[in-house]
Symmetry: C2
Subunit: 212 residues, 2 copies
Amino acid sequence: MDSLEFEHMEAVCSSKKETEYLSGELIIKERTQIREFTYLKSGLVKLFKSDPSGSEQIITIAKPMDYVSLLSVFSNDTYNYSVTALEDSVTCTLDLENLRVMMRENGELALSLLQKMSRAADRIIIDTLEIRKKHLRGRVAYLLLYFSDHVYFSSEFDLPLTRKEMAEYVGMTTENVIRSLSEFRKDGILKIYGKTIHIVNMETLKSIAEFG
Amino acid sequence: MDSLEFEHMEAVCSSKKETEYLSGELIIKERTQIREFTYLKSGLVKLFKSDPSGSEQIITIAKPMDYVSLLSVFSNDTYNYSVTALEDSVTCTLDLENLRVMMRENGELALSLLQKMSRAADRIIIDTLEIRKKHLRGRVAYLLLYFSDHVYFSSEFDLPLTRKEMAEYVGMTTENVIRSLSEFRKDGILKIYGKTIHIVNMETLKSIAEFG
DNA sequence: CGCGGCTTTGATGTTCATCAAGTAAAGTGG
DNA sequence: CCACTTTACTTGATGAACATCAAAGCCGCG
């Protein structure tokens, strides 16, 4: 959200509460009651859905100022996904009932929330379709570029996800994520030191992400 | 939307306009300016995104009282998907600027819109993840059950989609949609007369949809 | 130091897309 | 309304993409 909306909401809400989480900690557990509206103040988190069988699918990754209690907040009474911290993170929570009252009284606030929620949902849907079209190498490239271009703003960064999580994000197996990464390394597109990624040949990676 | 929201919006909007479309007609063209808020009054439509290369991906299918100008409305100034009628349909459009003004003045309206939009987006995301997990036969089964359980409320119905469109919806090839259908027929799960589908063995189909 | 989780690579088999070719159905123009 | 063209549907054969299985190295942590 931009700073205007942000201040707007802060001003409007008396019941703001901050909570710190360590990397790996569970922030929201699916199927629990939604009582609060949550956004991310700092850090990085993943939103995901897990199966009875234990497997997980990552829906999206949320950055500071993103709403963590995504869509379900206003449509459901329980979460249908979980959230855990990928890095040490701080969340802000507002009492949901309180926020609802505010929105009823203040259409401007409601409209700006609607706008922001729409943007987030839209991006998830578009990205999912985009990823579905691609072959495995293209998916991995797309993911690396996401971190490079939209999260860390650098061609060198530490992956906040394990290989397994990367696989869960783009719908492939861990082994094939690794294979794709290894191929990129062999082709001189990347340098890899464990979780540290250095994108050497950005152009090639971009064309793989687009056409692969 | 439920009838309360519905009346609410009707009452609030002076500029309502109805438009009829024949099956196959384009209702919204992606990348065009969004000027109106549109919902479906009767019929059935598909929302889809198309590639430079000409291929299409179906995002979802909208039923009467669903919002057709889905998420983009409040987050974008242009549509990032197209809409065409799958059956003869009637849409209702409201002037978007007008609606925005109403929402600012009327938080209750804004909140109810937010709720409804959230529900729709949520369903799309969940369904997409659900489909991604499944094998081809499971995807086709899932799709058939969607029509049976949520659109036509009958075990016998006419598919509103071509085989190709079914493929575009669930992310597989036309040939494999057909192959799955043929297999279901051979296994005595379906009877197929062109576009008419009769689900004979509902239980088996459900278990394929769930575990396939 | 040893255990468990994460990572990596190779070998194997399955699932699926692609290609090809033919039939049926649905428009289209004379 | 009929010949003609196009679009939709169907089946089979082939190969490519991908998941699965297996085994080993690595790293952090108790």
